[in-house]
């Protein structure tokens, strides 16, 4: 706007000068508008000319399985220089397009792979066809037939960088609405690249609100494949040891652990609760002679914690195992199971892990084989040596756990370790006390990158002793009657533990928020999608 007033001395002239300027501006605007309208709505000269590409492009009828067609779709990830001069058919998303004069560059995306497509007005492609392709909205699913040609300079922005697809036919299979709530490119951008040159990123809330778009990013495609692998290796490691997979009920009559953090649901004429853990049922399965069991299922915690590592609903990977003489048999089984998960991911998912680290840089996960095992008093000493004050029987606070993780990493070079012999006072009532020292218990926690991922212990399998411990903790025996009953008719000594699938994935990949590893996360503030 005008900085200062220029006194021309004749006010009327100044006003009319401005009025003239305004008129000129308005006229220019109007002319522009008219030109745009003409370009859009009215058929221009190009259209009235003959379209020699008719029948090679357009919008397909909605697929309701009208015909069975046998044809070969190539995967974009497979296309390389060996396809030179060959004709291919792909079905992919239109990732981006850029038209310039008689040429149009398009990037097609399928999963994590992208390939550049090119259209040039000529014998095969008409002006109308080019215009049609340039106007296809982003994210639409298209069928493209074209010839592959090698490119002299690699196309850095595409995964299939040494080839491009010279398009001959382009058909819309499923059209996307033009206004996208978020752009895949923005959602895939690492934080280090945002802010400069006005490159934007998408904040977490928007991503989660439009999860079905956000999940399309190559990083998310990789993350959830890694998560699937965590489950797979968990199962494989335990199946090999003779474990049986069981499924436990999630609708339960009473709050199992700790009471306060359960969801209540109406159950016909009465109420029920959503299970906080499969603890009771795992143990019943042991008492029912299944010897070694594991279960993969939902866990519900009504904790009003809005942190980076808490969800109200997550997937628990739980296991319980009867042992011969000592609970370390179970602890070692669990430790080895983790080693198998880490090794499996490291050896088979390098591409996915690299993809994630491109957007979310992190240090590679380090682990020892066999896993590191420390005793609780050792951990207390390590903390006291650097000036942290704590009592022998105090639980580890979260900041202390994180510091301890750093100290362990510096001293032993591992991001994963097990901590044995926790103080009895800070563990649940069903934990077996240490036979040699009543201050401690046969319980253990396991940590990844300084954060707790498993809590476990030898359980009390004797109903009389269990009753005594429950009384000691001031628990109303009526509420846990069915739990104690399970041990009345003979139960082998057993131990176990449970891990959170999302947390393990998050910490293995070095991510900072558990919502990144939960497909449709649930927390105190989020119930959709």
């Amino acid at each position: 706007m005008v900085a200062g007033k220029v006194d021309t001395g004749v006010k009327d002239d100044a006003r009319s000068k401005n009025a003239l300027k305004k008129e000129a501006k308005d006229a220019a605007k109007l002319a522009k508008k008219q030109a745009a309208q003409e370009a859009q709505g009215k058929p221009d000269e190009a259209d009235s000319a003959e379209d020699h590409s008719k029948g090679k492009y357009g919008k397909l009828e909605m697929n309701a399985s009208q015909n069975k067609v046998q044809r070969e779709l190539k995967r974009v990830s497979d296309i390389d220089t060996s396809f030179a001069n060959k004709s291919v058919l792909i079905r992919a998303r239109l990732h981006t397009s850029r038209a310039k004069g008689k040429q149009c560059f398009v990037v097609f995306r399928q999963g994590r792979s992208t390939i550049q497509g090119i259209l040039t007005v000529g014998d095969i492609v008409s002006k109308q066809m080019l215009k049609f392709v340039a106007n296809i909205s982003k994210e639409s699913i298209v069928d493209v037939i074209g010839k592959i040609q090698n490119v002299p300079n690699p196309i850095e922005s595409c995964t299939q960088s040494d080839v491009e697809l010279v398009c001959e036919e382009v058909w819309i299979v499923s059209e996307a609405e033009p206004r996208l709530p978020l752009l895949i490119d923005d959602a895939s951008r690492p934080d280090s690249e945002t802010g400069e040159d006005g490159l934007s990123k998408v904040n977490q809330e928007t991503k989660l609100d439009n999860r079905f778009l956000d999940l399309r990013t190559p990083t998310n495609q990789a993350i959830y494949r890694v998560e699937a692998a965590v489950c797979r290796f968990f199962r494989e490691a335990l199946d090999k040891q003779g474990f049986v997979e069981i499924h436990t009920p999630k609708i339960i009559p009473a709050a199992s652990e700790g009471g306060a953090n359960v969801f209540k649901v109406s159950y016909f004429k009465t109420s029920a609760y959503l299970a906080q853990s499969p603890q009771l049922y795992k143990q019943m399965a042991i008492a029912s002679d299944f010897e070694k069991v594991y279960t993969v299922g939902a866990v519900f915690r009504a904790e009003d914690s809005n942190t980076h590592r808490h969800l109200t609903e997550f997937v628990g990977l739980d296991l319980e195992m009867s042992f011969d003489s000592h609970y370390h048999e179970v602890m070692d089984t669990i430790g080895n199971m983790f080693t198998e998960i880490f090794k499996g991911l490291k050896n088979n998912y390098t591409k996915e892990i690299e993809q994630v680290r491109k957007q979310f840089p992190s240090e590679e996960f380090a682990f020892l084989e066999p896993p590191l095992k420390l005793q609780f008093p050792q951990a207390v000493k390590m903390l006291r040596d650097v000036g942290i004050e704590m009592g022998d029987e105090d639980d580890l606070s979260t900041p202390n756990e994180k510091l301890l993780g750093r100290l362990v990493k510096a001293k032993y070079g591992t991001d994963f370790y097990m901590l044995d012999k926790y103080p009895l006072a800070v563990r649940p009532f069903y934990t077996m006390p240490d036979p040699k020292d009543p201050k401690y218990s046969n319980s253990y926690d396991m940590f990844m990158r300084g954060e707790e991922i498993l809590s476990g212990a030898q359980r009390i399998h004797d109903s009389a002793f269990l009753t005594e411990r429950a009384k000691h903790h001031g628990i109303d025996l009526e509420t846990i009657k069915s739990y104690i009953d399970a041990f009345k008719y003979g139960c082998p000594p057993h131990a176990g533990g449970g891990i959170g699938m999302e947390r393990v994935t998050m910490l293995y990949l070095g991510l900072d928020n558990i919502r990144k590893t939960s497909m449709f996360p649930r927390d105190p503030k989020r119930l959709t999608p």
Partner: protein, 176 residues
């Protein structure tokens, strides 16, 4: 901001005087809302711990020895004392920018060179309250400053019974 900040800063004044063996001077000071920057004698106008020391302890050999041996050292001592009184003593807890600046200036063992001077003495008291509240991760961000504090706090007469600040020599946080 934590509450008893005035009390802490009065403690600092007393500690500085005690370091030079002149705690008696404290009774002649106007200690209401006083800190190292504005402390003055009752009924006088000159402000600040530096003026106070120079006027009340002009014949103290210890003070003289800590003002710097060479001309450059003396200039650096003045510079850092001024910086402390202007910037670092202003707040109960120094912001990251001040700590960063101090850290990058500590290329020698001490602030003014290779021996302890008045600037180190004043900085110890000013920075102690900040360092008490830093996490190990934060201390690792200022490696020179942390190294300096770990060194000077070994002087019992300087520390005067304050608990030692803990440092970890091994880098834990891979800070770039």
């Amino acid at each position: 901001m934590p509450e008893p900040c005035d009390k802490n800063q009065v403690e600092e004044i007393k500690s500085v005087l005690a370091y030079f063996g002149s705690d008696g001077v404290a009774s002649r000071l106007d200690l209401n809302g006083a800190n190292l920057t504005n402390v003055k004698l009752k009924g006088s106008t000159g402000e600040g711990i530096y003026l106070l020391l120079k006027s009340q302890l002009s014949d103290s050999p210890k003070l003289q020895s800590l003002l710097g041996k060479t001309a450059i050292e003396r200039a650096l001592v003045r510079q850092w004392v001024d910086f402390n009184l202007l910037e670092a003593s202003k707040n109960t807890f120094q912001p990251d920018s001040v700590l960063k600046e101090l850290d990058s200036s500590l290329t020698n063992t001490f602030f003014a060179g290779n021996s302890l001077t008045l600037s180190d003495v004043l900085f110890y008291y000013t920075l102690y309250r900040t360092y008490e509240n830093l996490t190990f991760e934060q201390k690792e961000k200022y490696p020179n400053l942390s190294r300096w504090l770990a060194l000077v706090q070994e002087d019992a007469q300087l520390r005067q019974g304050r608990p030692r600040i803990h440092f970890i020599r091994t880098p834990l946080y891979n800070l770039k």
